[in-house]
Protein backbone atom coordinates (compact mmCIF):
# COMPACT_ATOMS: atom_id res chain seq x y z
CA UNK A 1 0.00 0.00 0.00
CA UNK A 2 1.34 3.46 -0.84
CA UNK A 3 2.12 5.98 1.86
CA UNK A 4 1.25 9.65 1.61
CA UNK A 5 2.10 12.76 3.56
CA UNK A 6 -0.78 15.14 4.08
CA UNK A 7 1.05 18.39 4.72
CA UNK A 8 -0.53 21.32 6.52
CA UNK A 9 1.01 24.76 6.07
CA UNK A 10 1.33 27.87 8.17
CA UNK A 11 1.53 29.75 4.87
CA UNK A 12 2.13 29.18 1.18
CA UNK A 13 0.22 27.14 -1.39
CA UNK A 14 -2.62 28.18 -3.68
CA UNK A 15 -4.83 31.22 -3.09
CA UNK A 16 -6.81 30.51 0.13
CA UNK A 17 -10.51 29.73 -0.30
CA UNK A 18 -11.25 32.61 2.05
CA UNK A 19 -9.20 34.72 4.46
CA UNK A 20 -9.35 33.92 8.17
CA UNK A 21 -7.78 35.21 11.36
CA UNK A 22 -5.07 33.37 13.30
CA UNK A 23 -6.56 30.81 15.66
CA UNK A 24 -5.72 32.71 18.84
CA UNK A 25 -8.21 35.37 17.68
CA UNK A 26 -11.12 32.95 17.19
CA UNK A 27 -13.93 32.54 19.69
CA UNK A 28 -12.85 30.05 22.37
CA UNK A 29 -15.59 27.58 21.41
CA UNK A 30 -14.38 27.60 17.79
CA UNK A 31 -10.83 26.88 18.95
CA UNK A 32 -12.12 23.90 20.95
CA UNK A 33 -14.11 22.57 18.00
CA UNK A 34 -11.10 22.86 15.71
CA UNK A 35 -8.75 21.05 18.08
CA UNK A 36 -11.31 18.36 18.81
CA UNK A 37 -11.67 17.75 15.06
CA UNK A 38 -7.92 17.31 14.56
CA UNK A 39 -7.80 14.86 17.46
CA UNK A 40 -10.72 13.02 15.93
CA UNK A 41 -8.88 12.76 12.57
CA UNK A 42 -5.91 11.11 14.28
CA UNK A 43 -8.17 8.64 16.06
CA UNK A 44 -10.12 7.93 12.89
CA UNK A 45 -6.95 7.14 10.95
CA UNK A 46 -5.78 4.81 13.70
CA UNK A 47 -9.14 3.08 13.81
CA UNK A 48 -9.07 2.60 10.03
CA UNK A 49 -5.59 1.12 10.15
CA UNK A 50 -4.36 3.96 7.93
CA UNK A 51 -2.29 5.90 10.47
CA UNK A 52 1.51 5.94 10.25
CA UNK A 53 2.60 9.14 11.93
CA UNK A 54 1.47 12.67 12.76
CA UNK A 55 3.76 15.49 13.76
CA UNK A 56 3.52 19.24 14.25
CA UNK A 57 6.38 21.63 13.53
CA UNK A 58 7.13 24.92 15.24
CA UNK A 59 7.05 27.92 12.90
CA UNK A 60 10.68 28.85 13.64
CA UNK A 61 12.83 28.02 10.65
CA UNK A 62 16.58 27.99 10.11
CA UNK A 63 18.17 27.42 6.72
CA UNK A 64 21.62 25.83 6.94
CA UNK A 65 24.30 25.10 4.39
CA UNK A 66 27.88 23.84 4.36
CA UNK A 67 30.23 26.76 4.99
CA UNK A 68 33.18 25.30 3.13
CA UNK A 69 36.34 23.64 4.44
CA UNK A 70 37.23 24.69 8.00
CA UNK A 71 34.32 27.11 8.08
CA UNK A 72 31.31 27.10 10.34
CA UNK A 73 27.94 26.15 8.83
CA UNK A 74 26.15 29.09 7.25
CA UNK A 75 22.69 29.69 8.64
CA UNK A 76 19.91 32.13 7.96
CA UNK A 77 16.34 32.54 9.05
CA UNK A 78 15.55 35.04 6.36
CA UNK A 79 14.55 37.29 4.93
CA UNK A 80 12.45 35.01 2.77
CA UNK A 81 9.57 35.92 0.49
CA UNK A 82 6.43 36.35 2.61
CA UNK A 83 4.69 33.74 0.51
CA UNK A 84 7.36 31.03 0.89
CA UNK A 85 5.94 27.74 2.06
CA UNK A 86 6.07 27.05 5.77
CA UNK A 87 5.01 23.54 6.72
CA UNK A 88 3.07 23.30 9.99
CA UNK A 89 2.87 19.54 10.27
CA UNK A 90 1.60 16.37 8.69
CA UNK A 91 -0.30 13.15 8.83
CA UNK A 92 1.48 10.21 7.24
CA UNK A 93 -1.00 7.65 6.06
CA UNK A 94 -0.78 4.19 4.55
CA UNK A 95 -3.75 3.75 2.23
CA UNK A 96 -5.13 1.69 -0.64
CA UNK A 97 -4.83 4.33 -3.32
CA UNK A 98 -4.14 7.92 -4.28
CA UNK A 99 -7.90 8.44 -4.41
CA UNK A 100 -8.21 7.45 -0.77
CA UNK A 101 -5.39 9.88 0.14
CA UNK A 102 -7.25 12.68 -1.64
CA UNK A 103 -10.46 11.76 0.12
CA UNK A 104 -8.76 11.92 3.52
CA UNK A 105 -6.98 15.18 2.66
CA UNK A 106 -10.32 16.74 1.75
CA UNK A 107 -11.74 15.53 5.04
CA UNK A 108 -8.86 17.14 6.95
CA UNK A 109 -9.50 20.34 4.98
CA UNK A 110 -13.11 20.42 6.15
CA UNK A 111 -11.85 21.19 9.69
CA UNK A 112 -14.07 23.73 11.43
CA UNK A 113 -12.88 27.36 11.58
CA UNK A 114 -14.43 30.55 12.93
CA UNK A 115 -18.17 30.19 13.44
CA UNK A 116 -17.85 26.44 12.88
CA UNK A 117 -17.56 26.99 9.10
CA UNK A 118 -15.12 24.70 7.26
CA UNK A 119 -11.68 26.24 6.71
CA UNK A 120 -11.30 24.81 3.18
CA UNK A 121 -7.57 24.78 3.94
CA UNK A 122 -5.30 23.58 1.11
CA UNK A 123 -3.63 20.29 2.01
CA UNK A 124 -0.46 19.29 0.15
CA UNK A 125 -0.60 15.57 -0.69
CA UNK A 126 2.77 13.95 -1.37
CA UNK A 127 3.50 10.31 -2.07
CA UNK A 128 6.31 8.76 -0.03
CA UNK A 129 8.74 6.74 -2.16
CA UNK A 130 8.89 3.16 -1.00
CA UNK A 131 12.14 1.59 0.12
CA UNK A 132 11.69 -1.73 -1.61
CA UNK A 133 10.92 -2.30 -5.29
CA UNK A 134 7.28 -3.30 -5.79
CA UNK A 135 6.76 -6.93 -6.74
CA UNK A 136 4.81 -6.33 -9.95
Amino acid sequence: MPKYLLLKHYRGGPEPHHPFLPMDEWAPADVEAHMAFLKHVGELLEKNGEFVDAQALTPARTWVRYGGPDAAPVTTDGPLPETSDLVAGWYMIDVESFERAVELAAYVSSEPGPGGEPLYEWIDVREVMSEAPSDN
Binding site: D24, A27, P28, V31
Partner: protein, 401 residues
Protein backbone atom coordinates in the same frame (compact mmCIF):
# COMPACT_ATOMS: atom_id res chain seq x y z
CA UNK B 1 -0.52 -15.57 25.54
CA UNK B 2 1.08 -14.39 28.72
CA UNK B 3 -1.25 -13.14 31.39
CA UNK B 4 -0.63 -9.37 31.56
CA UNK B 5 -0.91 -8.61 35.29
CA UNK B 6 1.14 -11.67 36.24
CA UNK B 7 3.80 -10.73 33.73
CA UNK B 8 4.02 -7.17 35.01
CA UNK B 9 4.36 -8.39 38.56
CA UNK B 10 7.32 -10.53 37.58
CA UNK B 11 8.82 -7.68 35.65
CA UNK B 12 8.88 -5.33 38.61
CA UNK B 13 10.62 -7.85 40.82
CA UNK B 14 12.92 -8.77 37.98
CA UNK B 15 14.01 -5.22 37.26
CA UNK B 16 14.72 -4.48 40.90
CA UNK B 17 17.41 -7.17 40.74
CA UNK B 18 19.24 -5.64 37.79
CA UNK B 19 21.60 -3.30 39.62
CA UNK B 20 22.53 -5.95 42.17
CA UNK B 21 23.32 -8.62 39.61
CA UNK B 22 25.16 -6.24 37.29
CA UNK B 23 27.20 -4.71 40.10
CA UNK B 24 28.12 -8.21 41.20
CA UNK B 25 29.40 -9.09 37.73
CA UNK B 26 31.33 -5.85 37.31
CA UNK B 27 32.90 -6.09 40.75
CA UNK B 28 33.95 -9.63 39.97
CA UNK B 29 36.05 -8.10 37.22
CA UNK B 30 33.79 -8.47 34.21
CA UNK B 31 33.93 -5.74 31.62
CA UNK B 32 30.98 -3.38 32.12
CA UNK B 33 29.95 -3.45 28.47
CA UNK B 34 30.02 -7.25 28.15
CA UNK B 35 28.37 -7.78 31.53
CA UNK B 36 25.59 -5.38 30.70
CA UNK B 37 24.95 -7.09 27.36
CA UNK B 38 24.93 -10.50 29.00
CA UNK B 39 22.52 -9.35 31.68
CA UNK B 40 20.23 -7.78 29.08
CA UNK B 41 20.06 -11.15 27.33
CA UNK B 42 19.40 -12.87 30.63
CA UNK B 43 16.58 -10.40 31.30
CA UNK B 44 14.93 -11.07 27.97
CA UNK B 45 15.16 -14.78 28.65
CA UNK B 46 13.70 -14.29 32.11
CA UNK B 47 10.75 -12.39 30.64
CA UNK B 48 10.15 -15.34 28.37
CA UNK B 49 10.75 -18.18 30.81
CA UNK B 50 9.67 -16.93 34.24
CA UNK B 51 5.92 -16.65 33.67
CA UNK B 52 5.83 -20.43 33.04
CA UNK B 53 8.71 -21.46 35.28
CA UNK B 54 9.39 -19.03 38.11
CA UNK B 55 12.89 -19.57 39.53
CA UNK B 56 13.43 -20.37 43.19
CA UNK B 57 16.17 -17.77 43.57
CA UNK B 58 15.63 -15.10 40.87
CA UNK B 59 18.84 -13.25 41.59
CA UNK B 60 20.99 -16.35 41.38
CA UNK B 61 19.15 -17.39 38.20
CA UNK B 62 19.92 -14.07 36.51
CA UNK B 63 23.54 -14.11 37.64
CA UNK B 64 23.97 -17.68 36.41
CA UNK B 65 22.39 -17.06 33.01
CA UNK B 66 24.34 -13.83 32.53
CA UNK B 67 27.56 -15.57 33.49
CA UNK B 68 26.86 -18.37 31.04
CA UNK B 69 26.34 -15.78 28.33
CA UNK B 70 29.60 -14.12 29.25
CA UNK B 71 31.47 -17.38 29.06
CA UNK B 72 29.88 -18.19 25.69
CA UNK B 73 30.73 -14.74 24.40
CA UNK B 74 34.27 -15.01 25.61
CA UNK B 75 34.75 -18.41 24.00
CA UNK B 76 33.61 -17.15 20.64
CA UNK B 77 35.48 -13.93 20.95
CA UNK B 78 38.49 -13.87 18.70
CA UNK B 79 40.04 -10.82 20.26
CA UNK B 80 40.30 -12.32 23.66
CA UNK B 81 43.68 -10.81 24.31
CA UNK B 82 42.26 -7.35 24.02
CA UNK B 83 39.85 -8.20 26.76
CA UNK B 84 42.55 -9.42 29.08
CA UNK B 85 44.51 -6.24 29.08
CA UNK B 86 41.31 -4.22 29.48
CA UNK B 87 40.24 -2.96 32.85
CA UNK B 88 40.03 -5.56 35.52
CA UNK B 89 39.00 -3.25 38.29
CA UNK B 90 39.90 -4.46 41.74
CA UNK B 91 36.79 -5.87 43.30
CA UNK B 92 35.69 -3.43 45.97
CA UNK B 93 35.73 -4.72 49.47
CA UNK B 94 32.96 -5.55 51.89
CA UNK B 95 29.80 -3.45 51.57
CA UNK B 96 27.70 -4.92 48.80
CA UNK B 97 24.25 -4.12 50.01
CA UNK B 98 21.54 -3.16 47.57
CA UNK B 99 21.75 0.64 47.79
CA UNK B 100 25.49 0.54 47.40
CA UNK B 101 25.19 -1.46 44.19
CA UNK B 102 22.76 1.07 42.80
CA UNK B 103 25.02 3.99 43.60
CA UNK B 104 28.02 2.22 42.09
CA UNK B 105 26.15 1.58 38.84
CA UNK B 106 24.67 5.08 38.72
CA UNK B 107 28.18 6.48 38.87
CA UNK B 108 29.18 4.22 35.97
CA UNK B 109 26.20 5.18 33.83
CA UNK B 110 26.34 8.89 34.65
CA UNK B 111 30.03 9.17 33.84
CA UNK B 112 30.78 12.85 33.17
CA UNK B 113 32.39 11.97 29.83
CA UNK B 114 29.06 10.79 28.42
CA UNK B 115 26.52 13.08 26.76
CA UNK B 116 23.30 13.55 28.75
CA UNK B 117 21.21 11.49 26.30
CA UNK B 118 23.65 8.60 26.67
CA UNK B 119 23.71 8.89 30.45
CA UNK B 120 19.94 8.70 30.50
CA UNK B 121 19.74 5.73 28.14
CA UNK B 122 22.44 3.77 29.92
CA UNK B 123 20.95 4.47 33.34
CA UNK B 124 17.55 3.23 32.25
CA UNK B 125 19.02 0.03 30.86
CA UNK B 126 21.76 -0.85 33.33
CA UNK B 127 20.13 0.43 36.52
CA UNK B 128 16.45 0.55 35.60
CA UNK B 129 16.47 -2.77 33.80
CA UNK B 130 14.37 -1.48 30.89
CA UNK B 131 14.86 -3.14 27.53
CA UNK B 132 16.32 -1.20 24.63
CA UNK B 133 12.91 -1.38 22.98
CA UNK B 134 11.19 0.21 25.97
CA UNK B 135 13.74 3.03 26.16
CA UNK B 136 13.42 3.65 22.42
CA UNK B 137 9.63 3.83 22.77
CA UNK B 138 9.92 6.26 25.66
CA UNK B 139 11.95 8.68 23.56
CA UNK B 140 10.13 8.03 20.26
CA UNK B 141 13.21 6.93 18.36
CA UNK B 142 13.73 3.69 16.40
CA UNK B 143 15.02 0.77 18.47
CA UNK B 144 18.17 0.55 16.31
CA UNK B 145 18.98 4.19 17.09
CA UNK B 146 18.67 3.63 20.81
CA UNK B 147 20.70 0.41 20.62
CA UNK B 148 23.45 2.33 18.87
CA UNK B 149 23.35 5.14 21.43
CA UNK B 150 23.70 2.63 24.26
CA UNK B 151 26.52 0.67 22.69
CA UNK B 152 28.43 3.86 21.86
CA UNK B 153 28.03 5.00 25.44
CA UNK B 154 29.35 1.69 26.71
CA UNK B 155 32.28 1.83 24.32
CA UNK B 156 33.10 5.28 25.65
CA UNK B 157 33.30 3.80 29.13
CA UNK B 158 35.70 1.06 28.10
CA UNK B 159 39.08 1.25 29.74
CA UNK B 160 37.96 3.76 32.34
CA UNK B 161 38.34 2.70 35.93
CA UNK B 162 34.85 2.28 37.34
CA UNK B 163 35.82 1.99 40.98
CA UNK B 164 36.03 5.70 41.79
CA UNK B 165 33.11 7.51 43.33
CA UNK B 166 31.55 9.70 40.66
CA UNK B 167 29.88 13.04 40.71
CA UNK B 168 26.59 12.78 42.58
CA UNK B 169 25.39 16.08 41.10
CA UNK B 170 25.54 14.50 37.64
CA UNK B 171 23.59 11.48 38.83
CA UNK B 172 20.89 13.73 40.26
CA UNK B 173 20.68 15.71 37.05
CA UNK B 174 20.34 12.53 35.01
CA UNK B 175 17.55 11.23 37.23
CA UNK B 176 15.76 14.56 36.93
CA UNK B 177 16.11 14.36 33.14
CA UNK B 178 14.55 10.91 33.23
CA UNK B 179 11.73 12.30 35.36
CA UNK B 180 10.96 15.31 33.17
CA UNK B 181 11.04 13.16 30.02
CA UNK B 182 8.49 10.92 31.61
CA UNK B 183 5.21 12.75 31.36
CA UNK B 184 4.35 12.07 27.75
CA UNK B 185 5.76 8.73 26.66
CA UNK B 186 4.33 5.27 26.67
CA UNK B 187 6.76 4.03 29.32
CA UNK B 188 6.32 5.50 32.78
CA UNK B 189 9.70 7.21 33.00
CA UNK B 190 8.54 9.50 35.81
CA UNK B 191 7.70 6.47 37.93
CA UNK B 192 11.02 4.91 36.98
CA UNK B 193 12.94 8.06 38.00
CA UNK B 194 11.16 8.05 41.37
CA UNK B 195 12.01 4.39 41.88
CA UNK B 196 15.69 5.01 41.09
CA UNK B 197 15.84 8.14 43.27
CA UNK B 198 14.33 6.17 46.13
CA UNK B 199 17.04 3.51 45.73
CA UNK B 200 19.64 6.26 45.61
CA UNK B 201 18.50 7.71 48.93
CA UNK B 202 19.22 4.31 50.50
CA UNK B 203 22.82 4.62 49.38
CA UNK B 204 23.73 8.19 50.23
CA UNK B 205 23.07 10.60 53.07
CA UNK B 206 23.37 13.55 50.70
CA UNK B 207 20.33 15.77 51.39
CA UNK B 208 20.07 16.84 47.75
CA UNK B 209 19.33 13.22 46.79
CA UNK B 210 16.40 13.30 49.17
CA UNK B 211 15.53 16.78 47.94
CA UNK B 212 15.29 15.43 44.41
CA UNK B 213 13.14 12.48 45.47
CA UNK B 214 10.85 14.86 47.37
CA UNK B 215 10.60 17.20 44.39
CA UNK B 216 9.63 14.36 42.08
CA UNK B 217 7.05 12.98 44.49
CA UNK B 218 5.49 16.37 45.19
CA UNK B 219 5.16 17.13 41.47
CA UNK B 220 4.11 13.63 40.49
CA UNK B 221 1.32 13.80 43.06
CA UNK B 222 -0.44 16.40 40.90
CA UNK B 223 -0.14 14.42 37.68
CA UNK B 224 -3.68 12.92 37.79
CA UNK B 225 -5.14 16.44 37.76
CA UNK B 226 -2.77 17.93 35.21
CA UNK B 227 -4.72 16.82 32.15
CA UNK B 228 -8.45 16.62 31.57
CA UNK B 229 -10.08 13.55 29.97
CA UNK B 230 -9.56 15.13 26.52
CA UNK B 231 -5.81 15.38 27.17
CA UNK B 232 -5.92 19.16 27.65
CA UNK B 233 -3.51 20.80 30.08
CA UNK B 234 -5.13 22.00 33.30
CA UNK B 235 -3.09 24.70 35.04
CA UNK B 236 -2.36 24.49 38.75
CA UNK B 237 -4.91 27.17 39.66
CA UNK B 238 -7.73 25.22 37.97
CA UNK B 239 -6.83 21.66 38.97
CA UNK B 240 -9.23 19.47 40.88
CA UNK B 241 -7.15 19.13 44.04
CA UNK B 242 -9.22 16.15 45.14
CA UNK B 243 -7.42 14.16 42.45
CA UNK B 244 -3.96 14.84 43.82
CA UNK B 245 -2.19 11.79 45.22
CA UNK B 246 -2.15 12.42 48.97
CA UNK B 247 0.09 9.42 49.62
CA UNK B 248 2.82 10.84 47.40
CA UNK B 249 2.41 14.29 48.97
CA UNK B 250 2.79 12.85 52.47
CA UNK B 251 5.87 10.86 51.47
CA UNK B 252 7.33 13.88 49.65
CA UNK B 253 6.89 16.13 52.67
CA UNK B 254 8.41 13.52 54.97
CA UNK B 255 11.44 13.03 52.70
CA UNK B 256 11.84 16.78 52.32
CA UNK B 257 11.76 17.36 56.05
CA UNK B 258 14.47 14.78 56.63
CA UNK B 259 16.57 16.44 53.92
CA UNK B 260 16.12 19.95 55.31
CA UNK B 261 17.05 18.70 58.78
CA UNK B 262 20.61 18.18 57.53
CA UNK B 263 20.82 21.97 57.08
CA UNK B 264 22.70 21.75 53.81
CA UNK B 265 20.26 23.37 51.41
CA UNK B 266 20.47 22.94 47.65
CA UNK B 267 18.30 23.65 44.65
CA UNK B 268 16.33 20.39 44.69
CA UNK B 269 15.40 20.86 48.35
CA UNK B 270 14.33 24.45 47.70
CA UNK B 271 12.29 23.50 44.63
CA UNK B 272 10.71 20.68 46.62
CA UNK B 273 9.78 23.15 49.37
CA UNK B 274 8.04 25.34 46.77
CA UNK B 275 6.20 22.30 45.37
CA UNK B 276 5.19 21.32 48.92
CA UNK B 277 3.64 24.75 49.52
CA UNK B 278 1.56 24.41 46.36
CA UNK B 279 0.52 20.90 47.37
CA UNK B 280 -0.39 22.14 50.83
CA UNK B 281 -2.95 24.71 49.64
CA UNK B 282 -6.54 23.49 49.82
CA UNK B 283 -7.43 25.86 46.98
CA UNK B 284 -5.48 28.09 44.60
CA UNK B 285 -6.65 31.13 46.56
CA UNK B 286 -5.13 29.73 49.74
CA UNK B 287 -1.65 29.38 48.23
CA UNK B 288 0.94 30.82 50.58
CA UNK B 289 2.68 33.03 48.03
CA UNK B 290 4.62 34.94 50.69
CA UNK B 291 6.41 31.77 51.78
CA UNK B 292 6.83 30.65 48.19
CA UNK B 293 8.49 33.97 47.39
CA UNK B 294 10.82 33.52 50.37
CA UNK B 295 11.91 30.11 49.00
CA UNK B 296 12.40 31.63 45.55
CA UNK B 297 14.64 34.25 47.16
CA UNK B 298 16.72 31.36 48.50
CA UNK B 299 16.72 29.66 45.11
CA UNK B 300 18.02 32.68 43.18
CA UNK B 301 20.51 33.20 46.01
CA UNK B 302 22.17 29.86 45.18
CA UNK B 303 23.85 31.30 42.08
CA UNK B 304 26.00 34.40 41.74
CA UNK B 305 24.30 35.73 38.60
CA UNK B 306 20.85 34.15 38.60
CA UNK B 307 19.62 35.96 35.47
CA UNK B 308 22.27 34.18 33.41
CA UNK B 309 22.97 31.09 35.49
CA UNK B 310 19.46 30.19 36.58
CA UNK B 311 16.92 32.18 34.57
CA UNK B 312 14.20 29.58 35.24
CA UNK B 313 14.42 30.38 38.95
CA UNK B 314 14.17 34.12 38.28
CA UNK B 315 11.13 33.52 36.07
CA UNK B 316 9.43 31.39 38.73
CA UNK B 317 10.20 34.07 41.27
CA UNK B 318 8.59 36.69 39.02
CA UNK B 319 5.29 34.79 39.26
CA UNK B 320 5.55 34.75 43.05
CA UNK B 321 6.40 38.47 43.07
CA UNK B 322 3.32 39.08 40.94
CA UNK B 323 1.11 37.29 43.44
CA UNK B 324 2.65 38.98 46.50
CA UNK B 325 3.45 42.49 45.28
CA UNK B 326 1.18 42.83 42.29
CA UNK B 327 1.27 42.10 38.58
CA UNK B 328 3.26 45.20 37.67
CA UNK B 329 6.07 44.22 40.04
CA UNK B 330 6.08 40.69 38.61
CA UNK B 331 6.27 42.03 35.06
CA UNK B 332 9.20 44.24 36.04
CA UNK B 333 11.00 41.13 37.25
CA UNK B 334 10.44 39.41 33.89
CA UNK B 335 11.89 42.46 32.12
CA UNK B 336 15.29 41.55 33.54
CA UNK B 337 15.10 38.25 31.65
CA UNK B 338 14.10 39.66 28.26
CA UNK B 339 17.58 39.31 26.83
CA UNK B 340 18.10 35.77 28.12
CA UNK B 341 14.63 34.22 27.76
CA UNK B 342 12.79 36.63 25.45
CA UNK B 343 12.64 34.05 22.67
CA UNK B 344 11.34 31.26 24.89
CA UNK B 345 7.67 30.39 25.14
CA UNK B 346 7.72 30.17 28.92
CA UNK B 347 8.79 33.81 29.29
CA UNK B 348 5.81 34.94 27.20
CA UNK B 349 3.45 32.54 28.99
CA UNK B 350 4.46 33.92 32.39
CA UNK B 351 3.94 37.47 31.14
CA UNK B 352 0.52 36.46 29.86
CA UNK B 353 -0.32 35.09 33.30
CA UNK B 354 0.89 38.27 35.02
CA UNK B 355 -1.00 40.56 32.61
CA UNK B 356 -4.12 38.51 33.30
CA UNK B 357 -3.49 38.76 37.03
CA UNK B 358 -3.34 42.53 36.61
CA UNK B 359 -6.57 42.58 34.59
CA UNK B 360 -4.97 43.61 31.28
CA UNK B 361 -6.63 40.97 29.11
CA UNK B 362 -5.65 42.28 25.65
CA UNK B 363 -1.99 42.31 26.71
CA UNK B 364 -2.43 38.83 28.20
CA UNK B 365 -3.91 37.56 24.91
CA UNK B 366 -1.00 38.96 22.91
CA UNK B 367 1.56 37.43 25.27
CA UNK B 368 -0.17 34.01 25.21
CA UNK B 369 -0.28 34.09 21.40
CA UNK B 370 3.44 34.93 21.31
CA UNK B 371 4.07 32.04 23.67
CA UNK B 372 2.02 29.67 21.50
CA UNK B 373 4.14 30.54 18.46
CA UNK B 374 7.26 29.54 20.38
CA UNK B 375 5.97 26.42 22.16
CA UNK B 376 7.75 23.17 21.35
CA UNK B 377 5.14 20.82 22.76
CA UNK B 378 1.77 20.22 21.12
CA UNK B 379 -0.25 20.04 24.35
CA UNK B 380 1.35 23.24 25.58
CA UNK B 381 0.91 25.00 22.24
CA UNK B 382 -2.78 24.09 22.16
CA UNK B 383 -3.16 25.23 25.76
CA UNK B 384 -1.57 28.61 25.00
CA UNK B 385 -3.74 29.13 21.91
CA UNK B 386 -6.79 28.48 24.10
CA UNK B 387 -5.52 30.89 26.75
CA UNK B 388 -5.00 33.55 24.08
CA UNK B 389 -8.46 33.05 22.58
CA UNK B 390 -10.07 33.04 26.03
CA UNK B 391 -8.28 36.20 27.20
CA UNK B 392 -9.05 37.99 23.94
CA UNK B 393 -12.74 37.09 24.04
CA UNK B 394 -13.03 38.06 27.72
CA UNK B 395 -11.21 41.33 27.05
CA UNK B 396 -13.48 42.47 24.24
CA UNK B 397 -15.45 45.67 24.99
CA UNK B 398 -18.81 44.90 26.57
CA UNK B 399 -17.57 41.60 27.94
CA UNK B 400 -17.19 41.73 31.70
CA UNK B 401 -15.74 38.63 33.29
Amino acid sequence: MIDEPARRLDEGALRALVPRVLAGLVRRGEDFDAAEDALQEALLEALRVWPGHPPRDPRAWLAAVATRRLVDARRSEAARNRREEATYAEPRSAATEEGDDTLFLLFCCCHPDLAPASQVALTLRAVGGLTTREIADAFYVPEATMAQRISRAKRALQGRPLDQPGDLAVVLRVLYLVYTAGHAGRVDLAGEAIRLARQLTLATEEPEARGLLALMLLNHARLPARFDPEGRIVTLDRQDRGRWNTGEIAEGVRVLQSALAAQRPGRYQVEAAIAALHDDAASAAETDWVQILAWYDDLVGLTGDPVRQDPAAVLGRAVAVGHVLGAAAGLRETDRLREVLGQRHRWHAVRGHLHELGGDLPAAATAYAEAARRATDVAERDHLVRQAARARAAGLPGNIE
